[in-house]
């Protein structure tokens, strides 16, 4: 039979998963929405069942630092949307990054990371993790060869953002994943800016994904949260470089996670060690809010992208704008890669350089009325920030330049307002900024 004659069942669509994955109507009450299980602990039916829960013989919940029924719905749903095997909801995107790293890296290990990162992630890798013996080499995200060259014998992780911050370099996930896998290493991708609606890194070759759920996933700027997703794709045993997953763990009665849990090895260790010991759990109320966001993620992301395209077109044609950096523009170095990896759109965060440098940028931001000047992205409302003086203020001029951040760079996060109103707001502020004395 010809290979192309085989037909599997049609998979459940993304929009349906965004609404239903992980939840059935509540068995006790019939509640259609996911209840908020605002409870620290859960009653054991009997002592043997209790032991079974602690010893991973039984399925269920013990204590909301380890798992919670509301969080479990969110974790299952994001796993389905990212095409992974399992996920863990944590207190923030930073906690998600830390949980991923700490589950597989120990003192003496090394990470190869893109140099175009969210400032908080950069701080963690550059300054904090070295105190615990984990070093990072930062490389050009557009150079798979640089990733390869930076890998050492003690490297344990390759990492990048699907859309770099703030330059929007598109990570060539298939190529960088191949580089990582050739060295028996997993690829971790921060997919916050894309969301699974625009890109599924696991389908492209990544092994682990994390999100700041604070952004587009929740979508309304009301919670802080993070999610780590295990693709279940990486063969930890074949690699031979990950003793936390392939050797007996004294902290859990000599459990060998890869042997007993196969494709779930990473996520089981992350829950049974990282969440247990570091304790950066998500509150169930936060999980509820993120779930509400996920339910409308597809239609929101379409609107975010459509608005962004209109604003980008306006700014690119404006005389007061030096340049616009958005991967869908032919002028962007990753235009073709973006079209291939992000065919539904390159997200709703982008940056532009205003003529007049730092002073013009400051005046522009202060004159905006619909856009809010704050440190966040992915809100339903449009946002603006000046990276050099806020998110990346700890980086010196040289590091800023290396990360592609100009002093006059302005980052926008385009929301769901009427695009004509956004353009009107930008137009007024640009006019005033370019008229202002400098």
């Amino acid at each position: 039979m010809a290979d192309d004659e085989h037909r599997g069942p049609r998979p459940t669509g993304f929009d349906t998963l965004a609404l239903h994955a992980g939840q059935r109507p509540d068995a006790a009450t019939g509640a259609r929405a996911t209840p908020i299980y605002q409870s620290a602990s859960f009653v054991f039916p009997d002592s043997d069942f209790a032991v079974g829960l602690f010893n991973i013989e039984r399925a269920g919940h013990v204590y909301s630092r380890l798992s919670n029924p509301t969080n479990a719905v969110l974790e299952e749903r994001i796993s389905a949307l990212e095409h992974g095997v399992a996920a863990i909801a944590v207190a923030s995107g930073q906690a998600a990054m830390h949980l991923a790293v700490s589950t597989i890296c120990s003192a003496g290990d090394h990470i190869v990371a893109s140099r175009s990162l969210y400032g908080g992630t950069h701080n963690l890798l550059q300054y904090t993790l070295p105190r615990f013996g984990i070093e990072t080499t930062f490389v050009d995200p557009r150079s798979p060869a640089a990733f390869e060259a930076a890998i050492r014998d003690n490297t344990r992780l390759v990492f990048g953002e699907i859309l770099g911050n703030p330059g929007l370099e598109v990570l060539d996930v298939p190529t960088v994943a191949a580089v990582a896998h050739d060295a028996d290493l997993p690829l971790l991708v921060d997919s916050t800016f894309a969301t699974p609606y625009l890109c599924k890194p696991i389908d492209l070759g990544a092994d682990l994904v994390f999100h700041s759920a604070t952004k587009f996933l929740s979508g309304h700027g009301i919670v802080i949260g993070g999610l780590v997703i295990d693709g279940g794709t990486f063969d930890w045993e074949a690699s031979g470089k990950f003793p936390t997953l392939t050797e007996p763990y004294e902290g859990f009665h000599d459990l060998v996670f890869a042997e007993e849990f196969g494709p779930q090895a990473f996520i089981v260790r992350a829950r049974r060690e990282g969440l247990r010991d570091f304790g950066a759990c998500m509150s169930p109320t936060t999980a509820f809010h993120v779930l509400q966001g996920l339910e409308t993620l597809p239609i929101r992301m379409d609107k975010h992208v459509a608005n962004t395209r209109e604003v980008v077109a306006f700014l690119e044609a404006h005389e007061a704008v030096e340049s616009v950096s958005y991967p869908e523009l032919p002028s962007h170095p990753d235009h073709d890669l973006s079209a291939r990896l992000l065919p539904k759109g390159a997200g709703a965060v982008f940056s532009f350089e205003i003529k007049g440098g730092r002073d013009a940028g400051r005046t522009f931001i202060e004159d905006l009325s619909i856009f809010s000047h704050l440190a966040n992205v992915g809100d339903a409302k449009s946002l603006v920030i000046h990276p050099a003086s806020t998110t990346h203020h700890r980086m010196d001029a040289e590091a800023l330049a290396a990360a592609g951040i100009g002093e006059g760079l302005v980052r926008l996060s385009i929301g769901l307002e009427d695009p004509d109103d956004l353009i009107g707001d930008l137009s007024r502020a640009l006019r005033r900024a370019t008229r202002a004395p400098r």
């Binding site: 037909r7 599997g8 079974g52 269920g60 389905a80 007993e260 196969g262 779930q264």
Partner: protein, 265 residues
Amino acid sequence: MSGTRIRVDGRTVYVGNGSGHPDTDAESVVFVHGAGMDHTVWALPARYFARQGLRVAAVDLPGHGRSEGPPFDCIDAMAVWLGEALDALAIPTAAVAGHSMGSLVAYRFASTMPHRCRALALLGTSAPMPVTDPLLNAAKDNHHAAIDMANTWSHSTGTLGSNANPGVWMLGVGERLLERSAPGVFHADLTACNTFDAESAGAMIQCPVLVIAGDDDMMTPARAGLDVAQALPDARVVRLEGCGHAMLNERPNEVLDALIGVVPT
């Protein structure tokens, strides 16, 4: 604690032990996985019975998980192999539990070596166990459609939500396990299921038998499981309402409760 690696017919075989530390005279329980799977599907019950002091042997059949291939394409050969594996493990008698294809291996083992089987648990079973041509043909070509068919049909239609295991997307786990199979392994397994000849071998089975049937099982319909039980002299049935074929994922606690009722401890 690491599982055990033994040699059977000159090939390395992996046997999971549920992190147990059994006494040398402990009773044994053997777990046999289904088509394209490995011992990890038994992770939770293996850990439970290991804690009870039983000697747990969750085997990876040849060509599966950490066991060397090639795979068998015949249930009878798998049952003979299971006896040899238990010889290598110095396990004279055991309670044997099998899921799907593994239930046929357990069934044949219990009917051909009844003196070695103290209890039998058949999860998601059917005898015979016919496999559709589209699934067989896709598996023969190592096409991903075979994984999609088996994985989708192995879960109840309600499995878009509410896994008892926090945070686990069971369709994702099933897909990854099947993807880990080497080319040809899944087809060999499905061929073994499709050609299984139950005949009247069940009459040889004298030990207590538990059949666990999922009411929403699309791979081995509950009716077929009830027929298997009816043909056995000492069989009890546990029906799981709304549960599909992948009952170890969908209803881990109910499955374990049922197993506790039949496995001697």
